[in-house]
């Protein structure tokens, strides 16, 4: 009795696993996926779960009170500072995204439609400034906008100003200029890819049917390149909302963003649970903004095309 009860199921499960692997497409799929899936679970899902759990605890001097509590979320909505800075960050990132996409689109358009040979070289040339470290690019803007920086000393030499302009650096505008430049490559490439894919005969057809160049662009090129524009917007918007290096280097007191607040919660303020709660809320807010954005572009596409 004893032997049969222990060996039989083992034998059975061996067979059924092998059979399952052969017959079920899903099992084969997941097995193939498993290294990536495991990496995603360990590297993405688990930290998120930890962050989420942490946000319901309370900091007590050096320890956590590990009982479920909504205190951090209540704090977030009761104290005006967090909401105000989150809204400011979203507004700033929105403007950065708009500026980046508006600047990137013509560049991508030029490469996709006007360049006939060596497109790869052009693409590499455009990405060359982005081979340097992100931090260096931020510092480069500090040199450009600084008190004795390139712009100020240039204007001074030309005699337009006698005293350096102080409003160039250490404010939200400086943060937005720096971010828009630093993330440009992430906008140019997806837009270029979607423009490149457009069937040129569609454009010829539109012109043959009597549309002018502008209407052809609005009704054919733009809707067809919208997936690239959407991808570019998301690639720029999502990371810039939470950025904290740029605001802390060029932002000054008025340029701080939600990332700086979160960083201070995990560092100086020593309140990890509140930091976790602010992170969760800003993630949810970003997700909401993106849903709104996708819904908006979708309806634009339906209306125009």
């Amino acid at each position: 009795m004893k032997t049969s009860s222990t060996t039989a199921p083992h034998h059975n499960s061996g067979i059924s696993l092998a059979r399952l692997f052969q017959t079920s497409e899903a099992v084969r799929g997941y097995t193939l996926l498993s290294p990536t899936l495991l990496a995603l679970l360990l590297g993405l899902a688990m930290p998120l779960a930890v962050l989420f759990t942490l946000s319901f605890w309370i900091q007590d001097y050096l320890d956590f009170i590990r009982t479920f509590s909504l205190k951090n979320y209540i704090d977030f909505f009761q104290k005006p500072i967090y909401g105000k800075i989150l809204i400011k960050s979203i507004r700033m990132s929105g403007l950065v995204t708009l500026a980046t996409v508006l600047l990137a689109y013509p560049m991508a358009y030029f490469i996709a439609f006007r360049i006939q040979h060596n497109k790869l070289i052009w693409l590499i040339l455009i990405t060359v400034p982005f081979w340097t470290s992100y931090l260096l690019r931020v510092f480069a803007w500090k040199l450009m906008l600084g008190y004795n920086g390139v712009i100020n000393s240039g204007l001074k030499t030309l005699g337009f100003i006698s005293e350096p302009l102080e409003f160039l650096l250490y404010n939200p505008a400086a943060v937005m200029i720096t971010l828009a430049h630093a993330w440009a490559a992430f906008a140019i490439l997806p837009i270029y890819v979607s423009l490149e894919k457009i069937d040129r005969s569609l454009l010829e057809a539109a012109r043959d049917l009597g549309e002018n160049a502008f209407i052809t662009f609005v009704r054919v090129t733009l809707p067809l390149s919208l997936p690239g524009v959407i991808a570019a917007s998301l690639l720029v918007f999502i990371p810039t909302v939470g950025d904290y290096v740029t605001p802390s280097l060029v932002g000054g007191p008025s340029g701080i963003m939600i990332g700086n607040i979160i960083q201070s919660m995990f560092g100086k303020a020593l309140n990890w649970p509140l930091g976790a709660a602010i992170s969760v809320i800003s993630m949810l807010t970003v997700a909401l903004m993106i849903s709104l954005f996708l819904w908006g572009t979708q309806s634009f596409r339906r209306k125009v095309a």
Partner: protein, 377 residues
Amino acid sequence: MQKDQIIEELATGRMSRRQFNQKLIALGATMVTIPLGSKMANAGSDDHPTVFTWEGWEVPELHQPYIGKHGQSPNFAIFGDEEEAFAKMRAGFKVDLTQPCSYKVPIWKDAGILQPMDPSRLSNWSDIIPALKTIPGTFDGDKQYFIPTDWGLTSVLYRADLAPEYVGNETWGMLWDPKYKGRLSMSDSLIDGVMVAAIYIGAKDPFNMTDAEMEKTRASLKEQLPLMRYYWTSPADIEQALASGELVAASAWNSSYAALKKEGLDVRYTSPKEGAMTWVCGFCLMTDHDPAKLDKIYEYVDAYASVESGVFALTEYGYGHGNMKAFAQVEKDQPGLLKELGYSTNVNETLDAGIFQAPMGNEPALQAMFEEVKAGL
């Protein structure tokens, strides 16, 4: 050359996807193995302790006797401020020795990461300034958690040529002068920033304020915010800005004064009438230090506390040193330098004149207040 060949193939589109991927794999493998090589080269220092300290405090001149004995320096890891260091160490970053300032010792002790040290193992212990050995919170009965090695001031550093009216009339109020709107800066920290405001409003005990004093401090910080160019996080921020004239005055440490003075600028390091702040930093032994390296750990601390290290700290950085004999040595070698750096030849006189930085009561509330002020609330 192969490089040209690759570019040629890329440009003309003759390279197949498979060939391109092969090149990418080769590149990736090279990148991954590069750090291995340098790590192997460092393997020799595995039997030396790791010291977690401030930038600039790891230079060989500050521990020559250690190098003399072992032929090399210990390993170093650098932190920007103590909060960053604390977060890292609590998250499991393993070091043997660290060098915080005295007011952080109680909370680090409470977190269980520090272990008492045995001063009798240090030959220079008897030369350490006695006033620094008995800072509240750094010892527990006869258990010494802190070996004081460095000290200095937090005070206003200003350009006397740009703000001549303050010469002879020095006050923390310079950092609140609307005349210099947008050309002032203060440290982005509680101890060197918010506490300055607390001293400025005349709090009885800046480090343990009453609620009324807290509100007054908040109001003064709000008043100051529009006058600030930025809150500085690294001394380099203010040194460059003061040199160019972007800033007129800033809260600063002695090292910034020494650096700008060397450049020949007309800067003054003030003795504000409300009192400058005195900070003291020193060594703490980690609970999870490597016991096999304990001898070397004490040798390093002793080397750092030596007279020659003290002379270097004073003459190069303008910082005070724990070893009182260093002051006499500097006065003998370069008469007048001490006075120029803002120290009295009688060390205790300088220490008595300042306000000793102490652990701050209700730090989370102070931090929250500071964040709110900076956010314009």
